[in-house]
């Protein structure tokens, strides 16, 4: 029996790998996800055949409750709330690994096993509370501003030291519950400390990192209960999270440690003078410019998600195309609150994915674009990143909308972006500001067209 279970795990691992491979192209991605879920089903069925199980009651109850909650949430959640939902699910995965670590403690555990138990509690705990804080920030239940205080690094250092020491003491005296308790409490505290100094716009990095941690926690739990499939699946997820984290950091031209520790956006003061003046435009005038345009690029940002404007954007796109205009979207890697956030919202509104261009593909053709429409994006189109060496975001790759013939910026008011950085784009000769709620402004344009 045991060998059957082990081989089932091997097949499940192959299905995960194949599924992830198929996730690499939009044409096969849905099937890939299906294949991966079959792998999971197989692994769960195999685990249920374990002869060490004498009582199925609580297993079944747990699966029914968890499955019910998961299915309900997955069906109800709005696409705009996807980042906070992924954060929350991440946290559950982390907590599960923490609990598995605790439950795996046996009187005769080897020292190595005890060390892996400490690791699964540590990583699982950090993932859990870190994800809860990220969830709070993303859903705006708590302020998304970075929380910084004096000696923050010292406090963090002490927590880490405390975790290491109590972890070692626990591994030497597994019978003393006190040290274990300390490891759990400090790990949970550390998760909070890691995420509070990170501001809302850096959330794509944090979510990717927590995603990676949830995999590594499963991996550590796999060592603790001596289970191959946990190690394989956990490290696949760990690797995927790390890659996404790297991509996000590169898109902001910042190192991971800078994102994690600097409290970016906590009121950086801009020194460079911005020249020029703000030129507002009315919906009427904007319509005349758009009506004459033969090429339009739309650059969405988090503001599009907040205004839930993706559907009207798609409507505007159709009207422009009927008018003989070529419409493309330029998607910055860190636009929104999680990797690929804008792509999902536009897919929801039925915008074909081949019209969504990555930054490196849209920038070379920006000079041929008649009108670039910036919807709720700010820092990712800030030319200061290219021009002003004193700017905190200098060096960050941005979408060069200022090179288009005309730029429309849809914006609520003149408040500066998340990072508190002045945006010289708004003062450029070819920029026109269309103030107001993005959804209403675009709705106005649509009415003019029809």
């Amino acid at each position: 029996m045991d060998i059957t279970i082990q081989f089932a795990y091997v097949v499940a691992a192959a299905l995960f790998i194949f599924g992830l491979k198929q996730l690499g192209s939009p044409a096969t991605a849905r099937r890939g996800n299906m294949i991966s879920s079959f792998g999971m089903l197989l692994a769960i069925v195999a685990a249920l055949l374990d002869q060490g199980i004498v009582d199925y009651q609580w297993i079944v109850i747990g699966i029914i409750i968890g499955g019910g909650i998961g299915a309900t949430v997955a069906r109800m959640v709005e696409m705009t709330s996807m980042p906070e939902m992924v954060a929350l699910f991440n946290g559950f995965g982390g907590m599960a690994s923490l609990l598995v670590g605790m439950a795996a403690i046996a009187p005769d555990s080897a020292t190595f096993t005890l060390v892996t138990i400490v690791l699964s509690i540590l990583i699982g705990g950090v993932t859990f509370t870190g994800s809860l804080v990220a969830y709070g920030k993303l859903s705006e239940r708590i302020s998304s501003a970075p929380v910084l205080f004096a000696k923050q690094q010292v406090v963090n250092g002490l927590i880490v030291a405390g975790i290491v020491i109590s972890g070692l003491l626990f591994a030497n005296n597994p019978d003393t519950g006190f040290w274990l308790f300390l490891v759990v409490v400090l790990s949970l505290a550390f998760g909070i400390m890691v995420v509070i100094p990170i501001g809302g716009a850096d959330m794509p990095v944090v979510i990717s990192l927590l995603n990676s941690y949830s995999g590594l926690a499963a991996c550590a739990a796999g060592f603790a209960v001596d289970n191959n499939i946990l190690i394989v699946a956990g490290s696949l997820v760990g690797a995927s999270g790390i890659i996404l984290t790297q991509i996000m950091c590169k898109a902001m031209n910042r190192s991971l440690s800078n994102v994690l520790f600097s409290g970016f956006g906590s009121g950086v003061v801009e020194t460079a003078e911005v020249e020029g003046e703000i030129k507002p435009i009315s919906v009427d005038d904007a319509y005349y410019v758009l009506e004459a345009a033969s090429s339009v690029a739309i650059i969405p940002g988090y503001g599009m998600a907040v205004a839930q404007a993706q559907h009207v954007v798609k409507e505007l796109m159709e009207l422009l195309e009927e008018n003989g205009c070529e419409v493309n979207f330029g998607i910055h890697p860190v636009a929104g609150r999680m990797p690929g956030h804008m792509n999902v919202l536009l897919a929801e509104a039925d915008v074909p994915y081949d019209q969504l261009l990555e930054m490196d593909d849209i920038n070379p053709r920006m000079e041929t674009v008649d009108v670039a429409i910036v919807i709720g994006a700010n820092d990712v189109v800030n030319p200061a990143a290219r021009e002003n060496e004193g700017s905190p975001i200098y060096g960050m790759p941005v979408i060069n909308v200022d090179q288009a013939r005309t730029v429309f910026v849809l914006k609520r008011s003149m408040a500066s972006g998340f990072a508190g950085i002045e945006n010289p784009l708004f003062y450029k000769e070819n920029t026109r500001m269309l103030f107001g709620d993005a959804k209403e402004s675009i709705g106005g344009l649509i009415r003019e067209f029809s």
């Binding site: 995960f16 992830l20 491979k21 996730l23 192209s25 991605a29 890939g32 996800n33 991966s36 879920s37 685990a47 249920l48 004498v54 609580w58 747990g62 968890g66 998961g70 299915a71 949430v73 997955a74 069906r75 996807m82 939902m85 559950f92 995965g93 907590m95 599960a96 690994s97 609990l99 598995v100 403690i105 995603n211 949830s214 995999g215 739990a221 060592f223 191959n228 499939i229 190690i231 394989v232 956990g234 490290s235 997820v237 760990g238 690797a239 999270g241 790390i242 996404l244 998607i331 890697p333 999680m338 990797p339 792509n343 999902v344 897919a347 929801e348 074909p352 994915y353 081949d354 990555e358």
Partner: protein, 95 residues
């Protein structure tokens, strides 16, 4: 006899490299579904939790196992379903 931990570490090392290779090729447009799909896979902890929840001992460890099964199942079921929901929306031009 090589200790089991060496094999486990081997598996860990190879899977991490494999993971890097697999994910590196995913286009930016699929990053959100990739993340929630990977998230669902990290619910694999449920497999480890199942035997712990079924010991029948009725002790703390079994309760930890039970809660772990519940939370990891939320992660698995919710993660796969929501990923499928997202991927169903991705369409190519003209289709």
């Amino acid at each position: 006899m090589v200790p089991a931990v060496v094999f486990l570490t081997f598996i860990l090392m190879l899977s991490i490299f494999l993971g890097f290779e697999l994910i590196n090729k995913v286009p930016a447009t699929l990053h959100t579904p990739l993340m929630s799909g990977a998230n669902a896979i990290s619910g694999i902890t449920v497999v480890g939790a199942i035997s712990l929840a079924g010991t029948g001992h009725g002790d703390a460890a079994q309760w930890f196992g039970f809660f772990a099964v519940t939370l990891a199942t939320i992660n698995v079921v919710g993660g796969y379903l929501v990923t499928d929901r997202m991927l169903a929306m991705f369409k190519k031009k003209g289709s």
